[in-house]
Structure formats: structure tokens, C-alpha cells
Point group: C3
Chain length 336, copies 3
């Protein structure tokens, strides 16, 4: 009888930050996502690509959209999914992140998707596992699949990001989405302006190659208005970043008076309607919020596929064959 | 590159209320459930009917039996299931029901099963999605699959509901089960008497075609005694519907002294033993509580099947072929 | 139309306590686990053995490692898994354990895996279901799969347990792991010494055939040092089992000064680093904590297989055939 040989920490690829990707990587993942989108138009939306693989999602912060998006992406690829929430887990017993991850990685999952409130959590996880690790958000630091789905959405509407002007509006300070998107947008050739009160835009941001404006009228010039969520939950008590939600909304809210026809309005969700965005804009013709959610599914399918299948050419035709179904049921008619 | 075309809000069928169904619909669903029951007698209880389909269960109220019943029904049909609980979801961040559902429906699930504390929640969801929607309970309003499983259970024991006398006992006021069952029982020809204190039976109920009695002895005449759960959690504080649980139990509890041999006793669960029902009745020969749970599984399989396969003839023979299994494992002998 | 015939309470096998097993049973399960370990070395770690079967995990206490281990074991065997946590379930509405289990067992799962804070809970569940029941921990009583995985781990390293000396250190009083392991270790021929303060080792324990020492230096003589978790959560308030965590750690902590090269250090997890075990030992070359987690997966696969396939010969070759995968994806190369 022999023990498992200890997992060799080999050179596995991870997606921790947008800076892990170069432009070719981004183009390849977006092209793969596009081919999965064709699958989503089918009556049967599932492919057998990752059958027999295990994806673990480990969420130490609550999230409907991101955890369900990853779970469904894995299931649409026929992978097995084991989902862990911090609530009700050993974390309640005071176990460290490292012990939790070592425990989970002892099961040899193929991919660990992790969200955690601490900056650098996903990167630390890579030291403790031989699985591919995907960062689904670490504190105010990074959320790379959000960036990829946003790039996908903008390209789907505008064809290219080259020379496009994107205004990112609101609470940049506490936003991992802003940090990831700035990197991705600049990489694909866009021009970025951060718009918001000085208390919510760190001064050092200009060193990233973006412009900063403290006047909401700056969004008038943008092709894309990317509205950030007010991160109440990430603001420490006693720190007065904004005078009040009402005043914030009056000064910085993206309302129909401030949006021109033809501008794309985006938001990573969940939205605080009436705070950073008005309901008429959120539900109006400029809004691409639902497109972003749809893009999230195919982009996450593409990321899982890319990590497991390796960075080969984007032709994934073998991956797109449908799952076999019961005779007479796929078509629908014979059953009815 | 093209975005998903926006989902066309076509004429999809939903199950929001018993009033969505006519007698033919009910008969067809019960017949389909009966054919699935034969599958449940097999050693392998799974059919490949809905392979490749996605069922999302979204529960904003806690529930063991209903959520697990729907999940298992979907899995027995080989569908993929994505389950969301309100606890630990974006709902904690104040996202609206509409935004949550729009987000989820952007993933193009085939069916959304929803439970929510607000009357009309499931109906509103139909406006925000192109999925089939099943109401798994909306406040005090409707719980149509509970009605169908109760009809199934009574028919299984008594053959027909025609002219059967059903007494519904207890907290009718706060019960979506009562509202759904009254409609279904009358549709199939039963006679219904509501039994309970005046504070728990709204006066307008008589307009539905039921009798009302404020005397517990009225259950003596019934073929079926349907005991409702005391809905503590749906009674607002300060409102005195009943003087005390002890007095309620003495006056209205369904105890062995009040049940005749041959009467069916039913309860939608979870039971408050010693309040609305005594343990000897709950566990006695008249009780069909466990049969109701079993019926719930096959009825929910039938509802999912019916919504996805369309209202065709009830012959579902293609749907009943078993899933293929590993050679030598199905039989059991070769492996042992 | 016929109701389901009531489930016949036949002689189904369960795993409630180590005392349910004789030495042949243990040897057979460990041998089956070993054959599943070979599957875990494959690129695709899934076998179709239990396809179409349903495993229900019902956890009334929180646990990351045990619940995820059982879930993944079932999924690796291709079973369907329905997982219930006490949080968010009807248990919140005051439903009894018995009603919950009767409800769940009405769905005819093949196996129910249950963890509950009450001693004897899993045994009581066997009365209310026709499923095979696996005890995943009942209060301070038993945790038989933990024992089996510990036996597996020790045998993997040392070949045999015969005449091996195992010191179990710490909070024996509140530990179901200690109770299960004492039985299993003695059954396979090991010698057991319990080491800890008199307040944490019940006097009657010596009647089980173990030695007791109240001096931490007793671990120097052991081949295996099995460190128990300090069960803060199972100590009633006001009872002073230990003067303080700091003093406990100084007197009873397993630190590098107290461990000789060649000794195996084990811990059931989650660890309180700096309390019952120091971090340098937990992460050092003597530690087999991660091996235990890995063993847990294959041992639980073996237990599920053994209960469902019956106590036949250990040759499970039919069970080890891999699941079929999409052409060109299993190999990985064609896709890349």
C-alpha cells in the first residue's frame, strides 16, 4: 500500500490578476468565449468538454452573480462542481485560509475558484495547491474575470476598444473591478478617465496612465460610462468618504440627464438603484448590464477551458460538440 | 462578434397559480407523475429526459422539503441544477428581486423555481425572464405544486376526488396551501369545508364555493382531514389570532379522539407536533404525510417535464427509459 | 393509480459505529479504498460506479472537510448528491430530527450521510429510513469514517498497525474521533496510550484496553502521535476543563521539541495552530495531516461503494473503469 505521492508544485497556470495576461491571452480567451456563445444559442446549452473534471468554488464573501456564474459555467462544460461558502464551514471554527485551501486541494480539484476579502488571498492559495486557481475577487485588489467579461461586452457592441474613451465613475478607491478594468482597457487600446470625488479616487492612480476628473460632466465625452457600485461594506466605520448617499447621488449619480444616446452604460452589479445609477438609466436602452451578465457566463467557460486545455490555438471545435441526449427528447417533438 | 440577441419574451408556459391550470392540465400532469412513479420503483431511479437542461431554484425563504424536492426532481430527470438561497446572496447587499431575477435569467436557465415571501413575486419574475417559472410559494398566496401533490395523494388512496368531502383545518388565513388546494379540490369535484376559529378564516372565503365551520366536530363528517401548519412566522407581532398555542391545541388540534378509522389525515409539513396535530395521529395509520412527500417528488418531475416538453399527450414513454449505467454495476451482482 | 408501497425496513447495512465492523470488514474497505486511490492518480478521477444513485448529505453541524469529502466521494463515483445544511432548513422552523429524516427518506435516497450534535442521532435515523445510513459524527460519540481514514493513513506509511504504539493526545473527553479510533486501532493490533490532563480523559477509558498518561513526555515512546482538536464548542460554559489555552499549550501542546524524527504526527482537523499543535509540527516532515485528508476521499468512496454493492470480495475492477469522456478532450493534446 502506498500513499499518494505529494502533489508536485509544477508550473500550473492561474488567473489571479489581469497582469497575468498579455494581449494575446486576452484575445484568445475572448475568441474562445465567442465560440461558446454559439453554444448558448442552442436548445441544449451543454458541452462535454470538461467531463470528469472537478471545479471547486470557495467563496468567503457572499455573492449571487459571481458564484452562480462560475458554477453554471463549469456545469455547462460538464465538470463536477463542489461549492463551499464561508458560512457554515470550518472557517467558523477559526481555521486559517491556508489550512482550508490545503484541505481542499488535497482532493486534487482541477480548478479552485476563490473569493476572499483579503488582498492577495488568491495568490497565496496558489502556494498551497496544485490546482489551477482563479481569483474571483480579493478585497479591493483584482477581479480579472469581471474585466474580461467587460471587455467582451464592449467589443461585442463596438467591435474594437482601440481609441475608445471609457469613463469609470464613482468609488474607485474600494473597487477591485476598477483596478482590473483599468489594466484591461489600456491593454486593448482604450483611453480611460476616472470620474468621482477626490476622496474616492486615490492620487497615485494617474501613474497607471489614466486621466482623472472630479467633475461629473466629464462623462459626456465618453463612449462608455462604467458605473461602479458604492461599496458601503468595504468602507470602514467613521471614515467620511462621502457626505451622504443623497448628496453623492445628486453630484455623482449617473442619471438620464447625464447620458447621451449612443453611450454604453455598464455596471458590475449588484446596483444600488437611486444611488450611483438611476433606475431609468439601469433599465434604459443605453444599459448593457444584462449583456455583461450573459458575457460573464461564456467568458468564465472560456477561462476554465483555457486553464485546463492549455494555451493552444483558439480553435475549440472539439469542445463545442453537444452532449448526447436521450433519443427523441432533444428534438422536443417526439416527446410532446 | 455579436452579442446574444435579447431573449424574446415569447409565450412560455409557467405554473404560478392553480388557476393557470384547467382540469385537462391537472389530469395530464397527474398521469405523467404516475408514470414517473414507476421509475421510482426501479433500482435506478434516474431518467435522461432533461439532460442538458438547467433548472434554477431560487429560495428567498428557508425550506428543506420543497427545495430538496425540486432539486431531486430535476436531478432524477438528469437536468443540471443551480440552487440559490437568499442567505449569502446579493440579496444581502440590498439588490432588488427584479435585478436578482434579471441576473439569473441572463444565464438562460430553462426553468426558474422561486419561493419568496411577497405575494405575486413569482408572477413578477415571469416579466423579467424567458425561462419557464414555477411558483414554489409566494407569501400567503399560492403553492400550486403542493396542491398537485395533494390531489395526487388523495387520488392514489381513494381513486377519485369526485364528491369527496375534504376538511381543511386551522390557519387558513396565512396559508398559501389552503388557497391553492381549495381551487384544485373544487376543480376535481370535491366538497370543501374550512374548519377553524373565525380569526383564522377570512370571511370572503365562502365566495370561493366552500363551507365554513367554527366547530372542530365538523371534521367528523370528512373523508380527508387536511391539517394546516400554524404559521407563527407569518403572523405579525401584536396581532392576537389565537389566545395561546395550548388553547389552540385543545380547541382545534387534530387528535386521535377526533379522527375516525378510514379518514385520511394530511399535512403539508413541517408539522408542529402537539399544536395543530398530535404525534399519535401524525404517526398513525390514518396519516398520509409521508405519501405526500413521495408524491411531491414525482409531481414535480411531471411539472418540469410538462413545462419543457409542452402540453402534448401524456404518453411519456420515451422519457422513462433509464439512464445508461456502468456495465456490471446496474445489476449489482457482478460487482459484489 | 397506486401509491408507493411503504418502504420495507429490510436488513440494510449501515455504518454508525466502528463497532459495526469486524476486522474483515475493515480490511475489505481499506483494500477497496486502495483500489480507488489508483483512480485518483489518473488524469480523470471519476468512475461511473454509482451512476443513477442518490446520496443525501445532511449536516446539522457545520463542517467543511467532512461534508465536502463525502460530496466529492459521491460525485467521483458518479452518484447524484443532494446536500442539506441545518442552516436555512426546516430545522429552523422547529421540525424534529425524525420528521426531517422521514421527509428526506421518502425520496428514497440510496444513502443518507448525517452529522448531528446529539449522541445516537445517526442510529435513530436508521429507524426512519430504508436508506443506508453513514454516521458522519454524532456528538462526542462516533465518527467511523474518520477512524477508517486514519487507519488507512497509518498503514500506508507503516505497512501494518500490528504492535504499533499510538498516543492520542489532548481532549479525549469531548472527542468522537478518539472513541472511534481507540476501537479501530485496538482491532488492528495497535497499542494505545491516551495522553492529557485528568480533566480531559474520562476515568472509565482504561476499561477499553488503553493506557492513560497524564505526562506529555509519554508521547516520546509512540510511533504515532495523534493530536486531538481542543473542542471549545463542545465544552459547556462555566466548566473549567483547562486553566487557559496558553497554559494548555505550554503543558500539552505538540511542539517540535516534543516530536522525534520518524514519529508520525496526525490531526483530524481543523487545527488550532498554537494550541494543541505548533505550526512548525503541523507543516513539518512528520505531519501526515494532508495525507489524512486525501485518505478521507478514497475511504469514503470505499464506504459508499461497500454499502451499495454489498460485502462481496474486494475485487472492484468493474468499478474502476473510467467515465467516458468527450473525444479529444481526455487526452488534452488534441484540444490544445
Amino acid at each position: 500500500m502506498e500513499l499518494f505521492p505529494p502533489s508536485q508544485p509544477q508550473a500550473r497556470r492561474h488567473l489571479i490578476s489581469v497582469s497575468d495576461l498579455d494581449r494575446d491571452d486576452v484575445e484568445r480567451i475572448l475568441a474562445t468565449a465567442e465560440s461558446f456563445e454559439a453554444v448558448m444559442h442552442r436548445d441544449l446549452k451543454k458541452v462535454p468538454t470538461l467531463r470528469g473534471r472537478t471545479v471547486m468554488t470557495v467563496f468567503f464573501e457572499s455573492s449571487t452573480r459571481t458564484s452562480s456564474s462560475f458554477e453554471l459555467a463549469a456545469k455547462r462544460l460538464s465538470a463536477d462542481v463542489v461549492s463551499l461558502k464561508a458560512v457554515g464551514s470550518s472557517v467558523d471554527k477559526g481555521e486559517s485560509l491556508r489550512d482550508t485551501v490545503q484541505t481542499l486541494s488535497a482532493y486534487d480539484p482541477d480548478v479552485i475558484v476563490i473569493r476572499h476579502a483579503a488582498v492577495g488571498a488568491a495568490a497565496r492559495v496558489t502556494k498551497a495547491t496544485s490546482a489551477h486557481v482563479v481569483n474571483a475577487g480579493d478585497g479591493c485588489h483584482q477581479h480579472p474575470t469581471q474585466c474580461l467579461l467587460d471587455l467582451y461586452t464592449i467589443r461585442a457592441v463596438r467591435g474594437s476598444l482601440d481609441s475608445l474613451h471609457v469613463a469609470i465613475v464613482g468609488d474607485v478607491m474600494h473597487s477591485r473591478v476598477a483596478r482590473s478594468n483599468i489594466q484591461g482597457l489600456l491593454m486593448l487600446g482604450a483611453r480611460v478617465t476616472l470620474v468621482g470625488p477626490p476622496t474616492l479616487i486615490p492620487r497615485h492612480m494617474t501613474s497607471l496612465g489614466v486621466e482623472v476628473s472630479h467633475d461629473i460632466s466629464a462623462i459626456a465625452d465618453a463612449d462608455v460610462i462604467y458605473v461602479l457600485r458604492m461599496q458601503h461594506e468595504r468602507m470602514s466605520e467613521g471614515e467620511a468618504y462621502i457626505p451622504s448617499l443623497r448628496e453623492y447621488s445628486a453630484l455623482w449619480g449617473v442619471t438620464s440627464e447625464r447620458v447621451r444616446p449612443g453611450q454604453l452604460v455598464m455596471h458590475p452589479g449588484p446596483m444600488n438603484r437611486g444611488v450611483e445609477i438611476s433606475s431609468d438609466v439601469a433599465d434604459g436602452p443605453s444599459s448593457h448590464v444584462i449583456d455583461q451578465v450573459r458575457a460573464g457566463l461564456v467568458v468564465r467557460m472560456a477561462v476554465l477551458y483555457d486553464l485546463l486545455a492549455g494555451p493552444g490555438p483558439a480553435d475549440a471545435s472539439a469542445a463545442l460538440r453537444p452532449v448526447p441526449v436521450a433519443a427523441g427528447v432533444a428534438a422536443g417533438q417526439e416527446v410532446a
